[in-house]
């Protein structure tokens, strides 16, 4: 596992408009880290993108993440995300699946 590496994902720009692009840093914990194979990734998205959009991009990039999207805490800037919210440049999104060991 390359826990120290930070990858960068750049997605296609929205067609037609000259959209502003923003960067969101994504932290992966526990099983998310294992499934994605890294602990941190920098995500470039269109301005106005939501947490749900970010998750969609992450799952399409790291398809193994799909299995745990229903059972994890999604936190934006250390705050629980219940319904999709718009992300801003420099935001930090965390994927926190539960761990059960002891």
């Amino acid at each position: 596992m390359t826990s120290a590496s930070i990858e960068s994902i750049e997605t296609a720009k929205g067609a037609g408009f000259e959209n502003h692009r923003i960067r969101v840093s994504v932290l992966m914990f526990a099983k998310a880290r294992e499934l994605a194979g890294l602990s941190e990734v920098s995500l470039e998205v269109d301005e106005g993108a939501t947490t749900a959009d970010c998750l969609k991009i992450l799952v399409s990039t790291y398809d193994k993440l799909q299995s745990i999207t229903e059972s994890m805490v999604l936190a934006l800037n250390h705050d629980y995300v219940e319904n999709p919210v718009v992300v801003n440049d420099g935001d930090e999104l965390a994927l926190i699946p539960p761990i059960s060991g002891g």
Binding site: S67, V73, I96, P97, P98, S100, G101, G102
Partner: protein, 547 residues
């Protein structure tokens, strides 16, 4: 000793002074002991200073040197024998025998103390405390002395200690999390500690289950942990629950305690504990650890969420690995277990802000601790919501193992036979074929870091996760050729003569999946070595390391 030799003269001087003081103290004590023996009928050689277990003097010189008073085991050895300022403090056992005329030097009457003990029922545990004194609190001198360093903490103080002494705390799981939690709660002076576990102490758990010793291997964890807690604090009431927690007994056990500590190692038990805590209205201090990561939160407290509010859908079974599968750095549950003790102490004593509605995440690799705010209580939660489906009456019917598709244990589930039997060979049969000199390929599909622990000779490590990418390599191996000599053979001949492939892993799961994959990708002569390396150790070579 080498270090002491090199120490500065001042330190050596200081050390010498300390040694002298210690020697003086010891001689004082032995003089005292002699006098006592002359006048008092001693029940045993060491003076019993407190509790059901006598604490021998020679091991407690520090304690004696710091206490101010001696209350003797009998009135006949009054003040007259006290040799100096250093006097002995005697706890409950001796104090209960004190003659009614005996005042201590602080002038606090200790008369009729036998009758002055208050027996309180705390969650089914009897807690002894003192009353009938003109005091602001119920802490007796021994208790004050014992917990003085906590009493000195302004945020905790007498009130905190009193509350703690009255509290009863249940620790579910006496493993990596439960070990430090139990040790600290026992030492901190909770009134009653319940311990739940159905497992026995195992050698490969000692790296993190620090409450147990090598000598306890094979003993039940509850017995071993209870003994350790009692050794730390003889005042502690310890309840031993050997049966483990099940849907049938959870409500009953949990109902007897004020605070519940989830120190378990598996998903279904976590849901069960959560539900039982909610229906019984108990705060739940939840901790978890795996690999190099830990999590901590307090559920169902102060209108905060419960475990189901946060994780209504359990993760798929392979997403919640156990420590025996994925490993764990011992100190990680150690840290989380300590934090669980802290949260339990805060809840019990009414100190500070418990970690409710927030999740603490420990990343040991980077030594980073994060706190994430959680949602509030989910009003549609099936257990703590406004119209709950689970109640104390029906909770025992809920099938937690089916709900989570995993077992209430961190033990590895029985190996499932996924392949037709003819696709497998036993370890013994494989060994026989090796001895016959059969040309073959032995693929070990464990992860590289596991392969590095121990591996069979002549095996080739192709981790299961890399299988697809490494088919060409497997093809070369099956052809029995090195890349250098490939040119020497016509390819059509090579294609006809693939060597059989045997696949092994740790326990025989991934090997079966590998066989399935290879057989449907051009390697019909592929076999599973049934039961993996664990079976190899059991049936063929007892010296092959098991992990």
């Amino acid at each position: 000793m080498g270090e002491i030799d090199r120490a500065s003269p001042e330190i050596l001087k200081e050390l010498e002074a300390l040694r002298k003081a210690n020697a003086e103290l010891l001689s004082e004590i032995s003089a005292l002991q002699k006098q006592l023996q002359g006048t008092v009928e001693m029940s045993s050689k060491p003076i019993c200073i407190d509790g059901p277990n006598a604490i021998s003097l020679e091991h407690n010189t520090k304690f004696f040197s710091q206490t101010q008073h001696i209350l003797y085991g009998s009135s006949s050895v009054q003040e007259s024998v006290a040799p100096s300022e250093a006097k002995l403090e005697v706890g409950s056992k001796a104090r209960a025998n004190i003659n009614e005329e005996t005042p201590n030097s602080q002038g606090i009457s200790v008369a009729h103390l036998e009758n002055d003990w208050i027996y309180e029922d705390v969650g089914g545990c009897i807690r002894k405390s003192m009353g009938n004194c003109e005091r602001l609190h119920n802490l007796d001198p021994y208790t004050i002395s014992r917990y003085s360093r906590q009493l000195l903490v302004p945020a905790f103080g007498v009130k905190g200690q009193e509350n703690l002494l009255k509290s009863s705390i249940l620790i579910i799981g006496a493993g990596g999390l439960g070990s430090p939690a139990a040790l600290y709660l026992a030492a901190a002076g909770v009134g009653c500690l319940g311990l739940v576990d159905h497992d026995v102490v195992e050698l490969d758990n000692l790296h993190r289950q620090v409450i147990h010793t090598e000598g306890a291997v094979g003993e039940t964890k509850v017995k071993s942990a209870a003994a350790a807690c009692r050794a730390i604090n003889s005042f502690l009431k310890v309840n031993e629950h050997y049966s483990g927690l099940q849907a049938s007994n959870a409500v009953n056990i949990i109902s007897k305690y004020d605070i519940i500590v989830d120190a378990t190692d598996n998903l279904p038990t976590r849901y069960l504990i959560n539900d039982a805590c909610v229906v019984m209205g108990k705060p739940l201090v939840s901790g978890a650890a795996l690999g190099t990561e830990g999590q901590l939160t307090v559920y169902h407290h102060d209108d905060g969420p419960c475990y189901r509010c946060i994780f209504p859908v359990p993760p798929p079974p392979d997403a919640c690995q156990s420590c025996s599968d994925a490993g764990v750095l011992g100190v990680v549950p150690g840290i989380i277990g300590c934090l669980q003790a802290l949260e339990a102490i805060k809840l019990a004593s009414g100190t500070g802000e418990p970690l409710s509605s927030r999740l603490l995440i420990l990343d040991a690799l980077t030594t980073s601790v994060q706190k994430v705010k959680l949602r509030g209580r989910n009003h549609s939660c099936i257990v703590c919501g406004d119209a709950p489906q689970l109640s104390r009456e029906n909770l025992h019917q809920f099938d937690y193992e089916a709900f989570t598709s995993s077992l209430m244990s961190d033990k590895i589930p029985q190996r499932k036979q996924m392949l037709p039997l003819s696709y497998g060979v036993s370890c013994k049969e494989y060994k026989r074929r090796c001895e016959e000199g059969e040309l073959h390929v032995l693929l070990d599909v464990r992860d590289a870091h596991q392969y590095a622990i121990s591996a069979l000779p002549n095996s080739v490590n192709v981790p299961f996760s890399q299988l697809k990418e490494r088919v060409p390599q497997i093809q070369d191996l099956a052809k029995g050729i090195d890349l250098e000599v490939e040119e020497a053979y016509p390819t059509e001949v090579l294609a006809q003569s693939l060597r059989p492939i045997y696949v092994i892993c740790r326990r025989g799961h991934d090997s079966q999946k590998t066989v399935q994959f290879l057989r449907s990708n051009g390697f019909p002569d592929t076999f599973d070595i049934v039961g993996g390396l664990e079976c190899w150790t059991r049936e063929v070579d007892h010296h092959f390391p098991k992990y």
